[in-house]
Amino acid sequence: MIFPALILGVCVPALAADPIRVGEFASLTGASASFGQSAHKGTELAVEEINAAGGVLGRPIELITEDDQSQAGQPATIVRKLISQDKVVAVLGEVASSKSLEAAPICQQNKIPMISPASTNPKVTEVGDYIFRVCFIDPFQGTVMSKFARENGWNKVAVLTDVKQDYSVGLAEFFIKDFLANGGQIVREQKYSTGDKDFKPQLTSIKASQPDAVFVPGYYAEVSLIAKQAKLLGLKVPLLGGDGWVGDSLLKVAGKSLDGSFFSSHFSSDDASPLVRNFVDKFKAKYGEVPDDMAALGYDSAMILAEAIRTAGTTDSGPLRQAIASTASHAGVTGRITLDAQRNASKSAVILTIGDGGFRFVKKVEP
């Protein structure tokens, strides 16, 4: 078990040069540990590659990672520490939108650029011009599953939202807006909180409304239990979800009960492009497992930061911010990344389905 302590990224010094300190905050332990562990592995792999190739501007990158233990309140504390004590030039994190929203104002205030690998709630980059993300946002992600549902003829959908997570609330809102605007019907809306273990009352209510599908834009820990209990209660319709489903315990806990469900995501490890295959091979060689979205996005976020430092020629906050903001057509493993005026990435999403103990690619959806 990784203890919630300071983990210093060890870097290969190209010269005995002054390292560039980059901070990372992630949920390495706790309920959403899968997110943090994956993102961290991807980021670490990127930093290793960068340093092995000589670093940036002749200096190695020193990755300083802190664990927020999946707990609210922790991101603020550790980001403050990274900025004031470790004097990092930029911050990478977090996956969960609620945690990014906690840390963003602190980075903005201190004029330290922050790049979130996977937070999709639009409010994150609205905090200020020093906050960036390398993934798509929920107004787009909501439409992806809404369109998919209608294409499959599922016109009556029930929605089960996690009220404790900004991500879940936002994604549900965008899904519902798009679904209703295109003639669909939301037959029931139910809620739960992160950390809940029993969903039978909500699922019983949803079952009574006879939906064609159920949209569950939550995180993997609860989704796995929801799927299991839904099957037990005889709710046989497919479940639909978002990128929050991507977690290692999802299938371990849910078993076969998620077979035939669909979710939108950033990355498919089956992608045949050479860039992705190269990344997957290197990741497997280093960690012995196939990378998921969060790992791929962590990798891209670190690569984009490095490129921006190179472009700016300095780690000073103003020019660095400018360089990150002008990232265009970066060839990332999650697609071509261009940051728009709102500092969000306009990218395609992939829809994956679950079966045979793993995820399978269904289709790509362009914005």
Partner: protein, 308 residues
């Protein structure tokens, strides 16, 4: 109507869990006049005991989920929790018996925090997947029941409710029809008189803790059958709700604990299903406040008059 009955069944199976945990609170209070705040964490220990022993025990009964295997896991968890309860009592509460009530109460809070954080240290803070000890599935009700055939009853729910009834009956037998049970009842009436009558106070108290903890351990296993995601902090919420259940039924009253558990479980299911899931916890704790304001002795408790 069907939806309502379904929610009742959901509430009943959750309420059974609360009832089992509440028994521990109520028995310890009855005998020692002290709320064991660490009791909810014994429930968590039961779940983890099952998590670690299940693979070996299931392999003894043929490898996969089975009723015999599940029974073995249940007994193992109950035994381990009983031992844990006795050890905690011996080390942390017995030395403080002569101290003011507040001291041992704070010690209990300390034990609770120790178990939770120690659990995070030893078991890891991430939720773990509890192994499948019973192949849970929905039971097909006969079509001749008409509309009622639409109800979904799962094997897990039947086992939880059935096991709870069996354990409650066993407890009642022990308390009402054995000498040790009589000693427990005597101790709860008047400790000094009981010891003057030859009751081994220390042994009976240890026995009370053992039984209460065993019930909580059983609750931990039964819960994990339906909600197979366990983590070291799972005892906090369940322990609090069970405590409310014990107070609702009448703290110190064993049938009261069972009744309180069922009421809280059903109330939760109805609030979540019909009103708003976010009101679930506030409502349960509102019940606690109302009970203490209007009938502090609980539904089945008798107001004790202190004769001066």
């Amino acid at each position: 109507m069907i939806e309502f009955l379904q929610q009742l069944i959901n509430g009943l199976s959750q309420g059974a869990i609360y009832a089992l945990i509440a028994l521990g609170y109520t028995m310890v209070f009855g005998v020692l006049r002290f709320i064991n705040f660490a009791h909810g964490d014994i429930y968590m220990l039961g779940a983890f005991a099952g998590f670690y022993t299940a693979p070996k025990l299931l392999s003894l009964t043929g490898g996969g989920p089975s009723y015999e295997g599940a029974a073995l896991v249940l007994v193992a968890a109950m035994a381990l929790c009983a031992a844990a309860g006795v050890i905690i009592e011996r080390l942390c509460y017995r030395p403080l018996r002569a101290q003011p009530r507040l001291t041992v109460l704070i010690a209990a809070i300390g034990v609770s925090l120790f178990l939770e954080n120690g659990g995070q240290f030893f078991f890891g803070a991430d939720p773990q997947a509890f192994p499948e000890i019973i192949a849970d599935s929905a039971i097909e009700l006969p079509a001749s029941w008409g509309d009622f055939a639409l109800l979904t009853l799962t094997v897990g729910q039947v086992i939880v409710i059935g096991s709870t009834i069996v354990l409650l009956a066993a407890l009642r037998t022990v308390v009402m029809h054995t000498r040790t049970g009589m000693a427990m009842r005597a101790l709860s009436l008047n400790p000094l008189a009981a010891s003057l009558m030859g009751v081994n106070t220390d042994a009976v108290i240890s026995f009370t803790f053992a039984i209460g903890s065993a019930m909580a351990g059983a609750a931990g296993i039964l819960t994990s059958i339906q909600q197979p995601s366990i983590d070291p902090l799972m005892g906090i919420n369940a322990g609090l709700k069970a405590f409310v259940a014990a107070v609702l039924g009448g703290i110190g009253n064993i049938p009261g604990a069972a009744l309180g558990g069922v009421i809280i479980g059903v109330l939760e299911a109805l609030v979540v299903g019909y009103i708003n899931p976010t009101y679930r916890d506030p409502l349960v704790f509102a019940v606690l406040i109302l009970v203490l304001l209007f009938k502090p002795s609980g539904l089945l408790g008798k107001a004790e008059r202190e004769k001066v």
